[in-house]
């Protein structure tokens, strides 16, 4: 019966050309598919998706770009759709390019300690392939079981273990990208200092606004022979935050330093039972890795600093199983909150590490004033805060209170000398705050960077830069082309 189900050549010229270039079953325009691709994992309203394409080769991505250009449509790349800032939300019925079918690990090159991968490869799948060979891919975002490496490149993704190893940018050496005009560029290289401007560095973290990465050379990190995971308990969040600041100040570089507050710990314990103490005001999950003797020195050092900051308990995971349980708690944190309220808004700001305790106190004060519930679980070692506001959107006025509290949290972070985002990006979420961090000249230069790749502003328009500083005609994005319905 498969012949019967094969979609016929569509009448719409855009769809017909896309179907000819790919295959009819890899160009979807049905309501269900377009509804799926109209939003990401954020709380923001979905956009309007145009045709949804599933290319399998660089040439197909080139064809999509050229066809979209001929039809005056924008193009929005999409990985797994796990973004939290609305970066993949299609505005103005663009052609959506899902990279999920480009999921081959092309080459694992141990001599150069790199792997060439396609953008649809799932983050954790790559590390699973590499582990037996003695390596892994260091960035480990919370969504690593589903998120794609193309998405990691677009968002310059982080994760707990980026404290010691750096975020995605430090692990991407070279890229093959298809520009919005359909040309293919090779950015970066396997050399340590490739010739020319660092266009690779400009591309990583550009949230899909410069083109689509079709091949990615990622750095392989050797698996450490020794790992120690500790859990320190505190009777105040301030003590936990101060411990983090003091550990960094002492010159110890742990692999991860994650703090969870009591409400978060309670939710996690009810959900997976990771063995966290629910009577502590905060816990600090610290991991050090390296060689046998050194990790023990670091563990002793962290314990001393924790005790000096009134740690009520310091526990060292005694087995791999215990280690895994401690991490399972941290990694399932976002699943755990679903039991508390149906909706959540996960924030993402960075502050100087010495200001962690002060800003957290402000966060608690802000949410109390707006009558919103907050749970905190965050990459403390990087100063990367993740206040998680939980709520029920069906209750009238709740979403407004959540947004008002969120805006104040952002401003408190900026006032402490911080920035708007540590790993989620700007997307549509924080565009309007960019002018509070940057001057008009700063934003103008960011827009120039963008235009050098995409002079016509056709790649994921309407994101990152605020209206008035972006080359995109925002008005046009709100309108929907004739023949397309939401």
């Amino acid at each position: 019966m498969s012949w019967f189900r094969r979609p016929s050549r569509p009448a719409d010229p855009l769809l017909a050309e896309l179907a000819d270039a790919l295959a009819p079953d890899r160009v979807r325009n049905d309501g269900a598919q377009r509804s799926l691709t109209s939003h990401d994992a954020s709380v923001f309203d979905g956009g309007v998706s145009g045709p949804v394409c599933f290319p399998t080769t660089t040439e197909e991505v080139q064809a999509i770009m050229r066809i979209a250009e001929r039809h005056g449509r924008a193009v929005v790349p999409r990985g797994a759709g796990t973004g939290l800032a609305g970066g993949a939300i299609p505005l103005g019925a663009p052609v959506v390019v899902c990279t999920g079918k480009m999921n081959n690990v092309i080459q694992i090159d141990l001599e150069n300690r790199i792997a060439w991968v396609e953008p649809g490869v799932i983050n954790l799948d790559l590390s699973k392939q590499l582990r037996p060979k003695g390596f892994h891919f260091a960035p480990d975002p919370s969504s690593q079981q589903v998120c794609t490496l193309g998405g990691n490149v677009a968002n310059n993704s982080g994760g707990p273990h980026c404290l010691a190893y750096g975020v995605t940018d430090a692990h991407v050496l070279a890229l093959e990208v298809v520009l919005p005009d359909g040309q293919v560029a090779r950015l970066g290289g396997l050399e340590d200092e490739p010739d020319g401007l660092d266009l690779r560095g400009a591309f990583v973290g550009s949230e899909g606004t410069l083109g689509i990465a079709t091949k990615i050379a990622v750095r392989l990190t050797p698996n450490p022979p020794a790992v120690r995971t500790m859990l320190l308990s505190f009777s105040s969040v301030r003590d936990a935050a101060q411990t983090v600041s003091d550990v960094i100040a002492a010159g110890v570089v742990p692999a991860a330093l994650e703090v969870m507050d009591q409400r978060m710990v309670t939710a996690i314990e009810a959900y997976v039972g990771a063995g966290y103490p629910t009577d502590a005001a905060a816990v600090l999950l610290a991991e050090v890795e390296g060689l046998e003797a050194g990790v023990d020195i670091d563990v002793a050092h962290i314990e001393r600093i924790g005790r000096a900051n009134h740690a009520t308990d310091v526990r060292l995971a005694g087995s791999d199983a215990e280690r895994a349980a401690l991490w399972k708690g941290r990694k399932t944190a976002f699943g755990a909150v679903a039991q508390i309220a149906p909706d959540y808004y996960l924030h993402d700001t960075v502050v100087p590490r010495a200001k962690l305790a002060d800003v957290l106190e402000q966060v608690y004060e802000i949410v109390d004033r707006h009558d919103v519930l907050v749970l905190n679980v965050f990459h403390a070692g990087d100063g990367n805060l993740h206040p998680l506001l939980v709520f029920d959107a069906r209750e009238e006025g709740t979403l407004e209170r959540v947004h008002a509290a969120g805006a104040e949290i952002l401003r408190a972070s900026l006032e402490a000398g911080g920035v708007l985002s540590g790993e989620h990006g700007i997307g549509v979420e924080k565009q309007q705050y960019m002018e509070e961090l940057f001057t008009a000249a700063d934003l103008d230069h960011q827009n120039r960077l963008r235009q050098a790749f995409d002079p016509a502003c056709r790649a994921n328009p309407g994101k990152v830069l605020p209206m008035g500083h972006s080359c995109a005609d925002i008005q046009a994005l709100r309108a929907v082309p004739t023949g397309v319905w939401g």
């Binding site: 090159d109 001599e111 150069n112 300690r113 968002n155 310059n156 982080g158 940018d169 520009l179 040309q183 293919v184 560029a185 090779r186 396997l190 050399e191 340590d192 200092e193 010739d195 020319g196 401007l197 660092d198 560095g201 400009a202 960094i248 100040a249 010159g251 110890v252 570089v253 390296g290 060689l291 046998e292 020195i297 960075v350 502050v351 100087p352 010495a354 990087d382 100063g383 000398g417 911080g418 920035v419 985002s421 540590g422 790993e423 924080k430 509070e436 961090l437 940057f438 001057t439 000249a441 700063d442 960011q446 120039r448 960077l449 963008r450 050098a452 790749f453 002079p455 990152v464 830069l465």
Partner: protein
């Protein structure tokens, strides 16, 4: 308003010196003055402001003006047991950033491009522009610091940078090994600071906590004939940029005498590396970038990042 938007009088003076018209270039220490080609025409030479603005050892970041000598910066960091990815070969901080050459012990200290957290520069139209931010993790907007690192001052003239610092390793030991595949040395040691090879001898920088260093040396001794070395070998003057796999066969790839950085790819040689053809589409992007940032071509005229 955040602290990013503020600008101080020193930077304003620098912006005034750069002005809004006429060709202009910044000269730092002049250690890489010929890189990217000679200046053409009659570019006015200006100097970037000097001085460490703010150093917070506990935060592992330092705000430093571009004209500061790298020696002064490293001296200040060393007082707190810290270092950074910028090389210690003389010259200025701004020069080191816009040249973007990594240290010999790059595997241990990281790369310059990963160390530059924030840049403040004077644009072609004389404005002070800030990109990035003064924190260690940041995805707020487009990555202007990456664009400026290695740009040879062709897109903007650096006034000030915020750099990530690193704790200096507690122990560092240079060792020398004969007749051994240098790639094996790199594989034996978990995180060497550097592995160098001149075609015959190898040098390895082992670093970390003292007992780990001792254990690594023991592992090395079991596999190779090693002796303590005073430091790295002398490096020939020309820098070749190769992939790590090409660098580990530098004896076949590179003309003349050489020292190859194994696992990194950089090779220092007595001859210059032949000019590489840039990727044509990347070159188009770079040309557009130059035109958008410097429409009249007044910044470091004649310099190109492709040569």
């Amino acid at each position: 308003m955040s602290t990013l938007a503020s600008t101080d009088a020193t930077i304003a003076d620098f912006a005034a010196a750069v002005g809004e018209t006429e060709p202009v270039a910044v000269r730092g220490g002049g250690t890489r003055w010929r890189l990217g080609g000679a200046l053409t025409g009659s570019a006015r030479i200006v100097e970037a402001p000097k001085g460490i603005v703010d150093y917070q050892p506990a935060e592992m970041i330092v705000t430093v003006r571009a004209g500061t000598s790298t020696a002064d910066l490293h001296r200040a960091l060393a007082e707190h047991g810290q270092t950074c990815a910028l090389p210690e070969r003389g010259g200025t901080v701004g020069g080191a950033v816009v040249v973007g050459e990594n240290r010999l012990d790059r595997m241990g200290r990281g790369s310059v491009r990963d160390a530059v957290l924030q840049v403040r520069y004077v644009s072609a139209d004389g404005e002070v522009v800030t990109g990035g931010g003064p924190v260690v993790k940041n995805v707020t907007g487009f990555n202007i610091p990456k664009l400026m690192t290695g740009s040879l001052g062709t897109l903007g003239l650096l006034a000030e940078v915020v750099l990530r610092t690193n704790p200096a390793p507690p122990v560092q030991r240079w060792l020398r090994a004969e007749s051994v595949d240098p790639r094996d040395l790199r594989d034996i040691v978990l995180r060497p600071g550097a592995v160098l090879w001149d075609g015959t001898s190898s040098w390895i920088l082992v670093e970390g906590h003292a007992p780990d260093v001792d254990a690594e040396i023991e592992r090395l001794a079991a596999r190779a004939d090693i002796t303590t070395a005073a430091g790295p070998p002398e490096l020939p003057p020309h820098r070749w940029r190769l992939s790590p796999s090409d660098a580990s066969q530098a004896d076949r790839v590179v003309e003349g005498e050489f020292v190859a950085s194994i696992g990194v790819g950089t090779v220092w040689a007595t001859t210059a590396q032949p000019v590489r053809e840039p990727d044509p589409v990347a070159a188009q992007i770079a040309d557009r970038m130059k035109h958008l940032f410097d429409p009249t071509g007044r910044l470091n005229p004649g310099r190109s990042t492709w040569t």
